[in-house]
Amino acid sequence: MPGLMDREFLGATINTDIRIFFRVIGETIKGIKRSHWMNLVIISTMAAILSIFGCLFRSGLFVSHFVDEVGNAIQVSVYVKPGHDANNLVKKFSEYKNIEKIKIITREEAWKDLKTQMDIPEINNPLPDTIRVKLKDKAEVKDFIKTVKNLNSVEDVQYAEQFADKVMGVGHFINIAAIVIVIALGGLTFSIINNTIHLVIESRKKEIEIMRMMGVSDWYIKAPYIFQGIFYGFCGAFFAVIPLIALNSYIKKFAELFYIGIDANSSQIVVLSVLFMGIAVGALGSIFSVKKYLKV
């Protein structure tokens, strides 16, 4: 029989814990209701900041995607000296680890192409054979060009160097700016939640004191304030997603203009980040506040 007794006892405590949990949620809801106008202020402020964070993040991701696409489109054109075989050169290039794509455009093909684009009189084809090389890593381009230029079967090498440098610089800047902005906005939202919960605790000092005296447990007193902070973070993030949807459709249009694909996963990544940041900052801000101002 003791086994049965144990099980019943266990069942009773589990029921109790579940009830306590739901009552803490109930206390949270009551607490939020009692904060009436403040809820609006906090949630809209959080939504504004989180949407700025989300939009910047989304734009940053798109720009670096854009930079990647454009950067990838930049290829090195190697012009083959007349009388040399392009295929031999290609074989040589293949030893180079960093090559992503390589393609021979014979002088005949190039000439035909040119003639379809322009009205050219019937003269001898002046074009050389061309090898188009796309490298995996843009940083390796300069090295590659140097090596290739010295080969005696190569007439000339062409590469849009300045443009590529600029594009890479922009990408780099955006990455750094994104980190700085995330830290700054994270700090801002954290202090908003932290101060809000501090205010709420301050306004309920008397009530908290009474509950303490009556033997209400630590967690039952504290948890509603933490949940309230999480609620603000979540609601702020929820409303911050709306401008993100609008921004995403803009980005789509912009991408179509440039004939590049949209960065498929970025939108979801950004929405999840905004939600995560809202909830995490809400939890952390209120936990710090409770730890600091609600000493039990």
Partner: protein, 224 residues
């Protein structure tokens, strides 16, 4: 129920309490008397561990609360009821909620809560005031709510610090009658007061404090 041994409480250099030996048995009714500043509240705060003694031990129900881990303090307080001079009610909650929140936080079922709150309100003579707000009640009624809250979890010890300090003589006597009823149901009751009429009327054990020391401790005693 309560035992103090060589217990000293100092605030800075001031000795608020200096008690070499005190024993209160289970089921007793004790008056704690003495002028303002004699150390009555300090002694009570040591019992519910709102203060820690500077030196010595404070046993409550066999446990030295001075050595108790802070996380265990709520458990200690759940087994006692505390009644304050200024009632300390939640002013934006009705009477029912003021009494219920303690056992609600313990995860008791709603049915059990209702039963217990009704029972407690009946004992203090407020069976019809469950929906009233504290501001709609007289001082005496508010203190009855305070007592209902203190007894709703069936404590073995009830500590009342000047429970009638804000009430007129007639109401004070009614409140004391309720506390005597609570004692008759088996709860140990300790009441701090400097109301001579009350102390003389009930003829209980009287412990007199003066400048933090127990100067008199007599059964069926009177004030002074």
């Amino acid at each position: 129920m309560i035992r103090l041994k060589n217990t000293v409480k100092k605030y800075g250099i001031q000795r608020a309490l200096d008690c070499s030996n005190l024993h209160i048995k289970v089921g007793e009714f004790v008056f704690l008397v003495g002028a303002s500043g004699a150390g009555k509240s300090t002694l009570m705060r040591l019992m519910y561990r709102e203060e820690l003694p500077t030196r010595g031990q404070v046993f409550v129900g066999g446990v030295d609360v001075a050595k108790m881990h802070p996380s265990k303090v709520p458990h200690l307080r759940r087994r006692m009821g505390i009644v304050f001079q200024d009632f300390k009610l939640l002013c934006d909650h009705n009477v029912f909620d003021n009494v219920a929140f303690v056992i609600r936080a313990l995860g008791m079922s709603s049915r059990e809560i209702k039963k217990r709150v009704r029972g407690a309100l009946k004992i203090v003579g407020l069976p019809d005031k469950a929906d009233a707000l504290p501001t709609q009640l007289s001082g005496g009624e508010q203190q009855r709510v305070g007592i209902a809250r203190a007894i709703v979890n069936g404590p073995s010890l009830l500590i009342a610090d000047e429970p009638t300090g804000n009430l007129d003589p007639q109401t004070s006597m009614e409140i004391m009658d309720i506390l005597e009823q609570v004692n008759k149901r088996g709860t140990t009751v300790i009441v701090a007061t400097h109301d001579q009429i009350i102390v003389d009327h009930f003829k209980k054990r009287v412990i007199t404090l003066e400048q933090g020391r127990i100067i008199k401790d007599i059964n069926a005693g009177t004030y002074g």
